[in-house]
């Protein structure tokens, strides 16, 4: 019996090696977003807006129109795009420094306006590109290059939970936190990505997917140890779940 190819790279993902480190989950997030774009057949009307960080090179991998945004400002840039091109599908792709720190204001107000865009948020609890400094999502006790003694809530505050924070805003139609550390979780993440874009296609409002990801390089762990860290500490600080899923009207 002939074999059928049942799993392959999505068409929207260019055939180019990722620059990401071994075990980094950016590639997985890239793949899931491209799969969803292919699934809905929206590649030719989708515009991606990466923030600054390891994700900025998204344009090398995604075979669609891409516009760079200044650090943290991707939701504002996306707003500009969406208001000019309401028929297009606009998504941002931001890391935890970009979205949770410098760009907190932009994402909250974009969400609160119910801007009909999708924000993909890569939460790996650390600044990747700049060399492992503390992120707003850094776990308590986690050592980073700027919290050499571990993050202490008395001096650095607490890890910030973006999905939970955005979900109650009226403008938000979908907010979920997923993880990419096991195949089962990747499958769940795929559903969240599909639903987020579905929400945008149906003009239902702002959609948000937070991905828990590993940063083996800056965590100083092997990929195998990274899985354990996500499964343990990270899931404790960042519970998975769908925090908002407005029903189709």
């Amino acid at each position: 019996m002939a074999l059928t190819k049942v799993f392959t790279r999505p068409d929207s993902l260019r055939d180019i090696n990722f620059h990401f480190c071994p075990g980094c989950h950016h590639g997985t997030a890239h793949r899931l977003i491209c799969e969803a774009i292919d699934y809905y057949g929206i590649r030719e009307r989708t515009i991606g807006i990466p923030g600054v960080g390891c994700g900025v090179f998204l344009y090398n991998y995604f075979d669609l129109d891409v516009c760079e945004a200044p650090h943290g400002r991707a939701p504002a840039v996306a707003t500009g795009f969406k208001r000019v091109l309401p028929q297009n599908i606009i998504f941002t792709y931001q890391g935890d420094g970009d979205l949770g720190s410098i760009g907190m204001s932009e994402v909250i107000h974009t969400a609160n306006r119910g801007e009909n865009i999708t924000v993909f948020f890569i939460n790996n609890s650390v600044y990747g590109m700049t060399g492992g400094q503390m992120a707003p999502t850094t776990l308590l006790g986690q050592r980073t290059t700027t919290t050499p003694y571990g993050r202490d809530f008395r001096t650095e505050g607490y890890p910030i939970r973006m999905a939970e924070m955005l979900a109650p805003l009226e403008g938000v139609a979908f907010a979920a936190r997923v993880s990419l550390h096991t195949p089962t979780q990747v499958k769940k993440a795929r559903k969240a990505v599909l639903r987020a874009l579905d929400i945008q296609i149906k003009n239902m409002g702002f959609s948000f997917v937070e991905f828990l990801c590993a940063c083996p390089t800056n965590w100083g762990l092997s990929p195998r140890q990274c899985i354990e860290k996500i499964d343990g500490e990270m899931l404790q600080s960042f519970p998975l779940g769908t925090y908002k899923n407005r029903q189709d009207s």
Partner: protein
């Protein structure tokens, strides 16, 4: 030709933008430019446009960036401190070669300063303002009619050169009312094949300002350099009012040049031979015109509402041997025509070798 009608400067500017096909406003309130967003929040929906009050100037400029990258003519307006917050986005827009219009109805600075008229943002506007090797196209109106006309022109230049443009005005020009003609030129929106609208039936495109490969950034900056040189060759806007055998040449821009015009009339009525040169494009600065005119007259008086910002550009452009003196009001005060006249008379009396000193009006 349309009927004359009396409009406020800020409203004329907004109407100019609409005549230029602009439909997307993103901005954050700050005095003294609030007439612009307030007017447009009512006006844009009437012409199928979009008005968004952004959460900050930082967001505004990036909304502008997005709209520009999507191919739209888009504008934001602000004042001093807000414009400072926009510098990051402006640098990105220049680096990504995105057109767009930023209106600066200036305040007095530095810091929170004050809201009266000032020309203290000249240097920030003409030198780039943000990080990196770039310029904004900067136009400085001096009448309500020019608030309208130059706004249209600024959109046109921004698109032509794929570079952000700025209208530099102040509270006098924003608040003043004058009769103007609303005569929009035929609206021809340029093709923007580089704009991102989705990769439908074409290769996927990218708009970016990050160049990491060896030599790539240098090449990009040389490319921008060529663009700015072309602007300097082809897009200089300057108004002159010259006489034979002038004693003094007056140089001034924006609202301040109106006071200088009054002083010019006073001086001429007293038989003093005075010339007048007004840079309308502050970048590109009319270097050549200043050089040529100053060759005819050894003494130049620059009048500015700052401590000598355009003065620097004038002195860089003077014909060798010419000297330029500065008459300044940097704190919201306005140089009165009588004070300017007195300084002109001083210069006439001064003999040949004047010094390049700063005088307070």
């Amino acid at each position: 030709m349309s009927e004359r009608q009396i409009l406020k400067g800020c409203v004329a500017l907004a109407e100019g933008a609409i005549a230029a096909g602009y439909r997307f406003y993103f901005g954050y309130p700050i005095t003294p430019q609030n007439d612009i967003p307030e007017y447009l929040s009512a006006r844009l929906p009437q012409v199928g446009g979009v008005f968004i009050q952004a959460e900050s100037e930082v967001a505004s400029i990036n909304m502008l960036l997005g709209a520009a990258a999507a191919g739209a003519r888009a504008m934001t307006s602000s004042s001093g401190p807000g414009i400072s917050l926009m510098q990051e986005g402006l640098s990105y827009m220049a680096g990504s070669e995105l057109p767009g219009l930023v209106v600066n109805i200036t305040r007095i600075g530095p810091g929170l300063g004050g809201i009266a008229a000032s020309q203290g943002d000249y240097r920030q506007a003409t030198r780039g303002g943000g990080h990196g090797d770039y310029h904004l196209i900067v136009l400085a109106p001096n009448s309500v009619q020019e608030m309208y006309d130059l706004t249209i022109k600024a959109f046109y230049l921004a698109d032509k050169y794929r570079n952000p443009a700025m209208i530099l005005a102040d509270a006098i020009l924003g608040q003043m009312k004058e009769p103007i003609f609303l005569n929009p030129p035929p609206l021809v929106l340029p093709e923007k094949p580089w704009a991102l609208t989705g990769a439908r039936g074409k290769k996927a495109q990218l708009i970016k300002s990050l160049y990491l490969a060896d030599g790539e950034m240098e090449q990009h900056n040389w490319h921008l350099y060529e663009k700015y040189r072309r602007l300097e060759r082809e897009e200089v806007l300057v108004e002159t009012d010259l006489q034979e055998k002038m004693d003094v040449l007056l140089v001034s821009f924006g609202s301040c040049s109106r006071m200088v015009q009054s002083a010019l009339d006073l001086a001429r009525s007293r038989g003093i031979r005075v010339g007048f040169l007004r840079p309308i494009s502050l970048y590109p600065f009319p270097q050549q015109a200043v050089r040529e005119v100053s060759r005819e007259v050894g003494k130049v008086l620059v009048v500015e509402m700052n401590t000598g910002q355009m003065w620097d550009d004038v002195r860089l452009s003077l014909y060798p041997g010419c000297r330029a003196r500065l008459l300044a009001r940097p704190g919201g005060g306005i140089p009165a025509p009588g004070q300017i006249l007195a300084e002109i008379e001083n210069l006439v009396k001064a003999g040949d070798g004047i010094d390049e000193s700063v005088h307070q009006a």
